[in-house]
């Protein structure tokens, strides 16, 4: 079984992993999502999902990425500044639909990729924050 420290080494961080309510979180602050995706590919972790959180007081969004490594759920949290974050679609094919869903449901833009036709629909416009529409 691959140790979590191996991943830390690949990411160049000495910050600890914290097990919290079902997932192991790497609490490092200066991680880049594409570096994390490369590290996950290197240890053959399986991509699970992205969970988007809209922060209060117009503070933007937070995205939590999850991968499975031998039954352990690994979590990485990224703040989204200015409504955009790098796409990892070219590194991880399984991320395609959830990036599209987050884009269409929260208007978060994943840089460096093109979007196929809509999964979710608000008229014919892609990239609408459906939570704002529903208010």
């Amino acid at each position: 079984m691959i140790s979590l420290e191996t991943i830390s080494e690949q990411l160049g961080t000495t910050d600890p992993w914290v097990e919290n309510r079902g997932a192991y979180w790497l609490a490092a602050t200066e991680l880049n999502v594409r570096d994390v995706a490369r590290a996950m590919n290197a240890v053959q972790a399986r991509f699970v999902t992205i969970t988007a959180y809209q922060l209060p007081d117009e503070d933007g969004f937070r995205l939590e990425y999850h991968w499975d490594l031998d039954g352990r759920l690994l979590g990485f949290s990224f703040p989204v500044s200015g409504n955009s974050i790098d796409s990892i679609y070219d590194l991880c094919e399984g991320v395609d639909w959830i990036e599209r869903e987050v884009h269409e449901g929260f208007n978060v833009d994943f840089l460096g990729r093109e979007y196929e036709p809509l999964l979710l629909r608000e008229g014919d416009t892609p990239g609408v924050n459906l939570r704002e529409v529903s208010k």
Partner: protein, 360 residues
């Protein structure tokens, strides 16, 4: 010259609405595009306005087949936020319900696959078997679709008559061994419609991050019941069927063998079920601030819930659901490449898709 054939969103081969645009040259499929969203109900957003009792009833309605799995996963996540540990008997009842649901889901799928193969007799046989499982689920819970079995810290109902469940398990197992598995594995009709059709290679299964029987049929031996045991699965002995071919037949075989393993798990759970309480008995629950995740091996593969709560709030801040079909459906594009047009209904059905789950 290539041409586009739209399949769906309403089509006899689809159990629920979605759309598959097939780009064909002659009878051969060269590319495909999938369109979902026809069942989008905004359930995740709706959950943010429901309290911790209402949200269980709401999430039970994400899926009409694996409704119990959704409440189980949600309750497990909420138990992490409230510090509840269900008593042992409740954990065993959760295993029994989860395996009964797997049985009825897999047998239902086998029937639909038989229908799409043009094997109507087998369709009737499978649905007769499924009906027996449904009867047991109804006897336990009083319901046939939304069982309302799970609550935070335990289960709502006991299993009063384990012998009835055992009797059904024996009948189902005997019929599977006598009829269903031999016909699916040896009949020339089944073989010609399934073998070598709709192949998802091992490499593609890994890169698409597919889950459940779809992954196991492509040689990816992942099963959360083993890798990250929940409820009472750590105390059960069972095998994880894996096939290497990645075709429709492999997916069919994995599910058929999983039916046998579910029967094995059910026998153990019913025999070893400890006496005791059904829940923790705590009436007033206090939620901690933060996020909890929970994963369960549903009939179609891994379900994951992320539940975020703020202390003293009656409603969740966020409930995110990642369903197995959401992970598996994009792989259909690769399965139908190079396939005959006439095989595409069966190929898309071979992942046992659930579009209600996918769209939420």
């Amino acid at each position: 010259m290539s041409y586009k054939i739209p399949m769906g969103p309403y089509h006899p081969a689809l159990e629920e609405p979605y759309k598959l645009d097939l780009i064909c040259e002659g009878e051969t499929v060269c590319d495909a595009k999938l369109h979902i969203g026809f069942n989008f109900r905004g359930i995740e957003h709706l959950a943010e306005s429901r309290n911790y009792i209402q949200v269980i009833a709401l999430m039970e309605r994400v899926c009409g087949i694996c409704s119990n799995i959704h409440t189980l996963t949600l309750c497990q996540a909420m138990e992490k936020l409230t510090g509840q540990t269900p008593p042992p008997r409740a954990l065993y009842i959760r295993v029994v319900m989860a395996e009964l649901e797997r049985l009825h889901s897999h047998v239902l799928w086998a029937g639909i696959a038989a229908k799409l193969m043009g094997f109507k007799t087998m369709f009737m046989t499978c649905f007769e078997l499924r009906e027996k499982v449904m009867d047991v689920l109804q006897a336990i819970s009083g319901n046939r679709v939304n069982y309302s079995m799970n609550k935070i810290g335990g289960v709502n109902r006991d299993i009063d008559d384990p012998q009835a469940v055992l009797k059904m398990v024996e009948a189902l197992e005997a019929e599977m061994v006598r009829t269903v598995i031999p016909i699916f594995t040896t009949s020339s009709t089944a073989r010609s419609r399934c073998a070598g059709i709709g192949v998802l290679t091992h490499e593609k299964a890994l890169s698409c991050s597919v889950v459940g029987p779809t992954a196991r049929a492509s040689g990816v031996a992942q099963d959360l019941r083993r890798a990250a045991p929940y409820a009472a699965y750590a105390e059960m002995e069972f095998d994880t069927p894996v096939q290497q071919d990645g075709d429709v037949r492999a997916r069919l075989m994995v599910r058929a063998l999983e039916i046998m393993e579910s029967c094995r798990i059910l026998r153990q759970a019913l025999a070893k079920m400890p006496p005791g309480e059904l829940d923790t008995g705590d009436v007033k629950l206090v939620f901690a601030t933060g996020t909890a995740t929970s994963r369960v091996e549903a009939p179609r593969g891994e379900v994951m819930y992320s539940v975020s709560w703020k202390e003293n709030s009656r409603t969740p801040r966020r409930v995110h659901v990642r369903t197995p079909t959401f992970a598996n459906m994009p792989a259909i594009r690769w399965m139908v490449l190079g396939a005959r047009l006439a095989d595409t209904p069966l190929i898309q059905a071979s992942i046992d898709p659930c579009y209600s789950c996918t769209d939420r």
